[in-house]
Amino acid sequence: MKRAIVALEDGRFFEGESFTGDGEAFGEIVFNTSMTGYQEILTDPSYHQQIVTLTYPLVGNYGVHPQDAESAAVRPAALLIGECSRIHSSWRAQGSLQDFLWAHGTMGVHNVDTRAITLHIRSKGAMRCVVSTVDLDPQRLVGKARAWPGFIGRDIAGEVTSPVSYEWPGPHGGVSPFSPASADGVGSWDAVLQVELNGARRFRVAVLDCGLKFNQLRILARLGCELTVFPIYTPAEEILRFRPDGFFISNGPGDPAGMGAVAENIRKIVETGLPTFGICFGHQLLGLAFGGRTFKLKFGHRGANQPVLDRRTGCVEITSQNHGFAVDIESLPAEIETTHINLNDGTSEGMQHRHKPVFSVQYHPEAAPGPHDAAPHFRRFISLMSN
């Protein structure tokens, strides 16, 4: 175990031990409160270049499995946890968390007071951070954190989007999704999705990859969609030329406010009346496309227990979330209805166009990790395309 220091730009630092050898990593420090799903979190492209603190201290207990990867890479710059389990124990496991991080060259630091970090971020907000085993001088590290340019001027989404378009699953076809063993063979997802296995209509869906998670496409495919994935900067015309039945905008990292060109592309597509569904970053981009504004949350929503109210039904979904920016509800034009809000802080969680078949949610209906409560939004998208 290597001693490691986690230093923040505001001068605060924390001690820990690296379980992945030497290294130094920079990123924006955030925390996630999910108690399970570390592998899904590590492979979620929205965490690109962030330093992720897991508030649940015991991590790595059930190892890793290829089915639980949400993209082909490990995205955060470093993982900060209470304790990396010495052994992993699960009938599914195909490797340990430690080896997984090692193989992807990502720093893992444990024996850190993750609650102290969380309380600090809660009161001071997300900020620049450096984790190091090679430099153990806290003051110098604080200086390094301040000197790190952060996301300014960087095309973060461009760093995670697919460089070329492809037909799903394309390069990701090797791994089948997790299907729990059960006597009747009905997977849990199928039940919540009400999948019609026979005779379902097929749809052509264009996917704008801002940093997508596999499970979004797995679910759409399961629901009868033929998916073509486009890089984030693909012009609207090129996507429309593909003559899709629907348009899906994924999640992704970074500040949406710097994505004016992408938002403009999206506006063009949406205006054609193409059924459109946006998730997370996709929700924010749609907000911008409609003429609204986005703003940075103090420390974001990251976890699997966020309560979202559907204003139309009065029902509550427990949702999986991962975002640091939000759509300003007040900035949206009259034709946009805010359908969902977060019950903790009242921020925008979902909207729809009053006249066009367009809707989006700020959270992750594909879960992975997290509850499946919001899965019916995928069906909603299918219904829009069916009409």
Binding site: R115, G314, I318, P371
Partner: protein, 1084 residues
């Protein structure tokens, strides 16, 4: 959706006496529910027979009925109070079953009383195994293969089909009574026969075995909008096959990937929908195959449970309170999260710590009981601990268990028979966790242990880490203080100072000193439901060495700390928690900042609403001093939590902690037999001749000197542990040996036993100047039966007022001489009009709640005031309570039905788990009610089997005559028949003796359900085999049984007066206000 305005009053049914499987957790849930409903303006009518509950305090509900929980009695209450609704889901299985009987018999319809929270068809679907299975299949959920049977022959056929082993589960029973695992046809026959008898539906389920699968539980809340949240996920360390109440459990789940966990979460919510639980909390149990991941639904409880109490304490989410509000129409998003006060209750709590619960057993009380754990619950209590990792939480919980181990330490290893290690690993029993440690130390691999125990390797590996650290500490060079790194490492893995001290051959306080020098101290973290995401308003803390930030805040106000009672055990349970809660509440009202410390998740005291601050910690010197270091209390209360805090009083005082109330040195003086003897002699107070002995021979000599019969007891034990009466030296020897064994290193006490004496308990308050006699409790059973197991009556039902005054005078003088500041309990024996003192305890006793309820004077609250120097004169209390116009009888409830084959007799060693109270205009009415409430309702007709020990034969004629006159038929064997005939009772059914195999015998009659009552007194300490067989069988077949002559006489008195009359129900509020029982209405 706003709350319902069409209902104005709600009836709540409590869970009754504490029994195995149903303990304080339902006082916690019921009190919360009462509070929640009254907050919303509903009138709350409550029925619970257990006087030791906070919920039955007259200020908690609007109308409080301490009455038997039977459909007939509850119907009388409904008729009288006309509640608009009945909330059946907060009173355990008892409350639920009673509500169901009322629904099915049409009572609820007749009085337009609506079931809220769960409708009758929902409860039926959840509780009836066949219906449940059908509902699960309909929802596409995987269940176990099983079939319902109504006979043993049918069971055999099904078991053949499924293949052995099979699990037998009776419907509608609590904590798995009557269930079991059958490995072959012989076992099957026995278990099924028991199960059929235990099931109120007379059917049992034969189910495929999931022995060794992993076991999980999810606590789910659902509201009228179909919003559902998982409050807590729990993983059992012990695999399927051990009742979850007897398992070590962990929250949250540790070894499920998110993909699997979410499948389980979906299934849990679908279970609630399929069963139709509209609002409230339910718990759903799953089994998961360790190699294939196959998940099956095992069962669900459509009500709050022991697990939901645990979940509430583990997460900070108050399930019962929210369940009550959902039942009256709110939705989750309309309710606030109590802890943050800002975010809504419609969220899923997240933990940033690890929680471990360990059950507490009492097998030492029931020699002969099978200690192997199975699907029928046997533990009597539990402790919970919170830590930064599994090891820290586990070791904290182990020392919080108060079984004489300081963690997974060296002493723990001595509990494991080393020659039977393989067996100790394979067979689930209470010390298996220690056996794992022993096996690891012997070099067995984690995998090998996991295979033998079927415990997940992840848990075993964590224990292996503890073993490694232990080795490091032991191997650290002698003569040098431990390195700061190693000390931190050990403390982060939960090692206690004592545990480290034992490994370093030094004193606990030396380790503490070293820690302080090196600044190795714990921090107190908040349990905040949200892993730090939001600010927490409610101060609920746990200690950990894994943190760096101190979150606890000291108050500006002077702080007082109350030390609770720890896990429930026989002799120390809810009664002490009741006292703790009262003291905390009173001190809060006096303006102090109150700090509660306890480790029992079932209790009201560990509800974070009870005190200003809650520390959920093991009750050890180290853990308490850590809190005192931070809180700097002006005083600590140790006299109301039972033996646990009392044992810590002197060490705390010596460590410089101020103790409130009676000085620990004075408490200790009363514990010391010789000191007490001198004091009593000086006061001229009589006591039985006695002496102390350090060897068996010395003890026998003392016995000879004081004369037989003698009472033999060990020092420093609780609930009369290993206490016995011996009539001859031959009997005495083994008992003396047992007493030395029970309290090694301490003297054994030998007293002259006063047979045929009336026993009396007194609880009193003393401020150092004056004494208030709280109540004189006259026991129904004679001296020699542990006071906790005796029925007793306030006011005394036979003692002459002049004798009562002499008792008071004796108690008064002792309290003043002992300089008592607060509560004191005295046990006395009255024989031939002489008053003898048996025991003096200057502290709260088990009877304080009962006396408080029976006399309408909350003793513990006044004790709290006295501890701050206030005088009795200021409270308006006289010398004793005013003459009461009612009688209140307390009856004990015994757990023999859990311990097959144990002789169910009463003696000097306490065996009861709980108590009930009956209130009436006469002793007879009160006693009658107490018997009904205790579940041993006296039969009003039928056949009575009479069998008395030789020394009780004189009474046989009298009892037989009375019963005969009351119209009962009598059955007995030859000897008793002769006695009866001599007394003029001719009409006797003659039975053969069992060992002579002379049919029909009493066992045949019982099995044919022809016996309505058994009166059988044990013939001596070593009862003959026949007798034991009769009594054990009666317990299994649930035949009412009386085992003392005094009990029989009281029963006959009650029968004579009450037979054919129904009970009048009266609320406490009426009784207290009217001061008289007349004209209170509600004739039932």
């Amino acid at each position: 959706m706003p709350k319902r305005t069409d209902i104005k009053s709600v009836l709540l049914i409590g869970s009754g006496p504490i029994v195995v499987g149903q303990a304080c957790e339902f006082d916690y849930s019921g009190s919360q529910a009462c509070k929640a409903l009254r907050e919303e303006g509903y009138r709350v009518v409550l029925v619970n027979s257990n006087p030791a509950t906070i919920m039955t305090d007259p200020c908690v509900a609007d109308c409080t009925y301490i009455e038997p929980i039977t459909p007939e009695v509850v119907e009388s209450i409904i008729r009288k109070e006309r509640p608009d609704a009945l909330l059946p889901t907060l009173g355990g299985q008892t409350g639920l079953n009673t509500a169901m009987e009322l629904a099915e018999s049409g009572v609820l319809d007749r009085y337009s009383c609506e079931l809220i929270g769960a409708k009758a068809d929902v409860i039926r679907r959840a509780e009836d195994r066949a219906q449940f299975k059908k509902a699960m299949e309909g929802a596409g959920l995987s269940c176990l293969r099983s079939e319902l049977v109504t006979s043993v022959a049918e069971a055999e056929r099904v078991a053949e089909r499924l293949g052995y082993p099979v699990i037998v589960r009776p419907s509608y029973t609590l904590g798995g009574t009557g269930g079991g695992t059958a490995h072959n046809v012989e076992e099957l026959r026995e278990i099924v026969a028991d199960g059929l008898a235990a099931s109120i539906r007379h059917n049992v389920l034969i189910e495929e075995s999931v022995l060794g699968w992993k076991e999980y539980e999810l606590e789910v809340m659902r509201d009228r909008h179909d919003n559902a949240v998982i409050v807590c996920s729990i993983e059992n360390v012990d695999p399927m096959g051990v009742h979850t109440g007897d398992s070590i459990t962990v929250a949250p789940v540790q070894t499920l990937s998110d993909a699997e966990y979410q499948v389980m979460r979906d299934a849990a919510i679908r279970v609630l929908r399929a069963v139709g639980v509209e609002t409230g909390g339910s718990n759903v149990q799953f089994a998961v195959h360790p190699k294939t991941g196959r998940q099956v639904v095992i069962e669900m409880n459509p009500r709050v449970s022991r697990s939901s109490a645990l979940a509430s304490k583990a997460t900070g989410f108050p399930i019962a309170k929210i369940a009550a509000k959902l039942a009256v129409g709110y939705t989750l998003d309309e309710l606030k999260n109590d802890i943050t006060k800002k975010t809504p209750a419609s969220f899923e709590p997240v933990l940033d710590y690890c929680v471990v619960k360990i059950p507490r057993f009492a097998f030492e009380k029931f020699p002969g009981a099978n200690p192997r754990l199975g699907v029928s619950m046997k533990s009597v209590g539990e402790t919970m601990a919170i830590g930064g990792n599994f090891r820290e939480a586990l070791q904290k919980a182990l020392r919080g268990l108060e079984i004489g181990v300081d963690g997974l330490d060296l002493k723990a290893e001595q509990r494991v028979p080393t020659d039977l290690l393989e067996e100790a690993l394979a067979a689930p029993a209470q010390d298996r966790i220690f056996a794992i440690k022993c096996a690891l130390k012997r070099g067995m691999s984690v995998e090998a242990i996991a295979e033998r125990t079927q415990i997940d390797p992840w848990f075993v590996d964590n224990i292996a880490q503890i073993v490694e650290i232990e080795h490091e500490i032991a191997a650290f060079p002698a003569g040098r203080p431990l390195s700061v790194q190693l000390l931190w490492k050990a403390k982060k893995s939960g090692f206690s100072d004592r545990q480290i001290a034992a490994l370093r051959s030094c004193e606990e306080l030396e380790v503490r000193r070293l820690r302080h020098e090196l600044n190795v101290r714990p921090v107190f973290r908040l349990v905040d439901t949200c892993a730090g995401e939001f600010e927490a308003v409610t101060p609920y803390y746990y200690s950990t060495y894994c943190g760096t930030v101190q979150e606890a805040r000291r108050s500006e106000r002077p702080t007082v700390m109350v030390v609770g009672g720890g896990p429930n055990r026989i002799g120390q349970g809810i009664e002490f928690d009741y006292c703790c809660v009262h003291v905390v509440q009173e001190m809060h009202e006096l303006g102090y900042e109150t700090v509660m410390v306890n480790s029992n998740p079932e209790t009201v005291s560990t509800d974070y609403d009870t005190s200003d601050k809650l520390y959920f910690e093991p009750l050890t010197l180290e853990d308490l001093l850590n809190i005192c270091d931070f809180e700097k209390p002006i005083g600590v209360v140790v006299q109301v939590g039972g033996q646990t805090p009392l044992n810590l009083a002197l060490p705390l005082k010596r460590a410089g902690v101020p103790i409130l109330g009676t000085d620990p040195e004075d408490i200790n003086r009363a514990e010391d037999r010789e000191e007490t003897r001198k004091l009593l002699d000086a006061l001229g107070v009589k006591q039985p001749d006695s002496g102390t002995a350090r060897t068996v021979e010395e003890a026998l000599a003392v016995a000879d000197r004081v004369g037989y019969p003698v009472m033999i007891r060990p020092s420093y034990v609780l609930g009369g542990r290993a206490m016995m009466v011996a009539h001859t030296p031959h009997e005495a020897r083994p008992f003396i040996q047992a007493a030395f064994h029970a309290s090694p290193g301490f003297p054994v006490l030998v007293d002259r036993f006063l047979d045929r004496a009336t026993e009396v308990d007194v609880d009193l308050l003393c401020d150092g100047q004056t004494v208030y006699i709280g109540g004189i409790m006259e026991h129904v059973e004679e001296a020699g039966i542990h006071s906790g197991d005796s029925a007793c009556c306030i006011p005394p039902h036979t003692l002459h007022p002049a004798t009562q005054r002499r008792i008071e005078s004796v108690c008064r003088r002792m309290a003043l001489a002992l300089n008592v500041k607060g509560l004191m309990n005295v046990q006395l024996a009255i024989r031939d009009n002489e008053v003898y003192v048996l025991e003096v305890n200057p502290r709260a006793s088990r009877t304080v709640p009962y006396v408080s309820k029976a006399t309408a004077v909350p003793l513990a609250r006044f004790a709290a005031r006295i501890m701050f120097g206030m005088s009795l004169a200021g409270f308006g209390l006289g010398e004793r309570p005013p003459k009461l116009p009612w009688y209140a009888v307390k009856e004990a409830v015994l757990p023999f039905n859990r311990f097959h084959g144990v002789d169910p007799i009463l003696g000097p060693e306490m065996k009861s788990t709980g108590e009930v109270m009956g209130v009436g205009e006469t002793f007879e009415e009160a006693h009658w009610k107490s018997q009904i409430a205790a579940g041993t309702a006296l039969p009003t007709e039928g056949l009575v089997f009479l069998s008395l020990a030789d020394r009780d034969k004189n009474w046989a004629g009298e009892i037989g005559w009375d019963l005969n006159e009351l119209g009962y038929r009598l059955a007995c064997t030859q000897g008793t028949a002769e006695t009866l005939r001599a007394a003029g009772v001719e009409d006797v059914m003659l039975l053969g003796k069992i060992h002579e195999n002379n049919k029909p015998d009493i066992l045949d009659l019982m099995r044919e359900k022809r016996v309505s009552l058994i009166i059988n007194t044990p013939s001596g300490a070593r009862a003959r085999l026949d007798e034991v067989g009769i009594r054990a069988e009666a317990v299994q077949l649930n035949v009412p049984m009386i085992t003392t002559v005094a009990g029989a006489k009281a029963a006959i008195r009650a029968l004579r007066q009450m037979r054919g009359r129904s009970c009048t129900v009266r609320s406490l509020q009426e009784i207290y206000a009217g001061g008289t029982l007349q004209n209170s209405g509600g004739q039932g």
